[in-house]
């Protein structure tokens, strides 16, 4: 499996980029040249210059430091919301597939309906109701993504349920939980991880969208989305305020998409995207 993945150059570039972004986010407190929140009005709206390679925003804050700290917000929200979606969705999918009957019907029809709705609009709706803030944002994106994971977990659970080794386990007296832990989860984990890396990319993009609208993490915490929102006002005289954070989003989302594509090629070699 690793050999197939290693041969995929795009996926390797993705891994390298993703690792770099993750490292920059972890190291942000040490490598940021300035405090991301510290204002210096004498420097406001200065373009890129020595000491401030990506320029200074309208409050006199260093853009590079804010982009680096913004990476933390994006990655934390991205990974935590994927985790929420993965847990809630997998649980729903497995329970539906394992129990069958009316419960399965209700869960899977609800999943179908939610899947057919634009993720972003659903995220906006949930955020409008929950209100802004980091925890709520993670919950909102997680909820929106859970039907996708439910769908992925449901199919294989259905087929594994009927396999002889599961019946054998049951005959020897294993209960549902044991079968879930030892037979079903290990069998669907691979597919769920592929989904997780692809949806990490989407989660980061949704976070940026929500922050841009002002429904995400509240200022002054730097996020790429709200940096762009603040920067748009100065598009004519200080375009770097919105272009640099945007570039950071693009590179990060692309990196996770490349890794996800690579993992999917390994899992399903027939599909060539």
């Amino acid at each position: 499996m690793w050999v197939t993945f290693k041969r995929n150059r795009t996926a390797l570039v993705g891994v390298v980029l993703a690792v770099v972004v993750i490292l920059l986010a972890i190291l942000a407190p040490w490598i940021s040249p300035h405090d991301p929140l510290k204002q210096n009005v004498y420097h406001r709206l200065k373009g890129p210059e020595p000491g401030h390679p990506l320029g200074v925003d309208d409050f006199g804050r260093d853009v590079l430091s804010r982009v680096l700290w913004g990476a933390r917000t994006s990655l934390v929200v991205g990974s935590a919301s994927v985790l929420v979606g993965l847990m809630v969705g997998t649980l729903l999918g497995i329970v539906a597939g394992f129990k069958g009957g009316r419960l399965e019907y209700v869960i899977m029809r609800a999943v179908d309906v939610l899947l057919s709705f634009p993720t972003l609009i659903m995220g906006l709706m949930v955020m409008a109701i929950l209100g802004s803030g980091m925890t709520k944002l993670i919950l909102a994106i997680g909820i929106v993504m859970s039907p996708r994971f439910a769908r992925v977990a449901h199919g294989p659970t259905l087929s594994i349920r009927e396999k002889e080794f599961v019946m054998a386990a049951r005959a020897t007296g294993a209960d549902d939980l044991w079968i879930l832990r030892h037979h079903i989860l290990p069998n669907i984990l691979g597919e769920l991880l592929v989904m997780a890396s692809l949806w990490m990319a989407t989660a980061i993009r949704i976070e940026a969208n929500l922050s841009f609208i002002g429904l995400g993490v509240s200022p002054p915490t730097p996020t790429w989305g709200n940096m762009i929102r603040d920067g748009v006002k100065w598009l004519t005289n200080a375009p770097y305020l919105s272009t640099f954070p945007g570039l950071a989003i693009l590179i990060t989302v692309m990196a996770f998409n490349m890794v996800g594509d690579g993992l999917r090629d390994v899992a399903d070699p027939k599909l060539q995207v």
């Binding site: 972003l120 906006l124 409008a128 002002g214």
Partner: protein
Amino acid sequence: MLRAGEKAMIAYILRRMLVSVPILLVVLTLVFLLVRIAPGDPAVAALGDYASQEAVERMRQRMGLNKPLWMQYVDFLGQLARGDLGRSLINDVPVSQQIRRVLPYTLELTGSGIFVGLLFGIPLGIVTALRRNTLLDYAGRIFGLAGLSVPAFYLGILLMLLFAVELDLFPVVGGGELSDLRDNLHHLFLPALSLGLIMTAYITRMARSAMLEVLNADYMRTARAKGLQERVVLIRHGLRTALIPVVSVVGVYSIVLIGSSVMTEVVFSRPGVGKLMVGAMKQRDYTTLQSIMVIYASFVVIINLITDIAYGLIDPRIRYE
């Protein structure tokens, strides 16, 4: 007289529309519940924080908020069935009137986005598949990945910077006059290009992958062995099969594109359903919000219906029975 095939098709479409009813109903119920569990009293939201207790009570009465939840639900569905979307909590204008004003802008925006995507995406996908592992293919793949990854609002900003700020070719904000075609298209160009590029990227990726799969198929080899011209083999045998999965993703991505259109409308300050929705969210205008979700749910149902019908037209194996 209708032919048997046409009759079957119409029956199929009617049946599919009936199936959409429960989907719409589930979405409506979810929206109804979500709006009701939202923090804050809609009556207070409508009147402002300084309204007197009596005024709030009168407003609650008028909005039907004192009734039990199930009665509110029945009222809500009853109103919708009569085509009554209620009045905005903020400015008391009928919501249907507001939506009717901005809907054409959203339709022209998403419609042209999908059109641009189909126009460029399918040929680009085919060409990159045929020239696999060449420079052109790599460029196409990078474009596909970038389009998949870029947030719509950021792409909008970049296009704005280039075409409006630097080159001063197109206006930055607004939707133009609908009655003035020139002005309207002038305002539509950048937002439509922004959504169109994203759609092109999606379709290119899928068309390339579908075409690659078809190129290796046995029947393609057979067609060549029969001595058919390469062009005929590609178009008649390859393209038609490759288009089937593409049609289904066009449906799925059109729905994604509707989500992106919200952001594009916000960035370009363009009138539209998405911009109306974001405004309603910020002002906690729940009646408007709830009606807009109904509109979006209908979009989804209609797109799924069109996708299913298109499927049948391309794939002769699918019968409307």
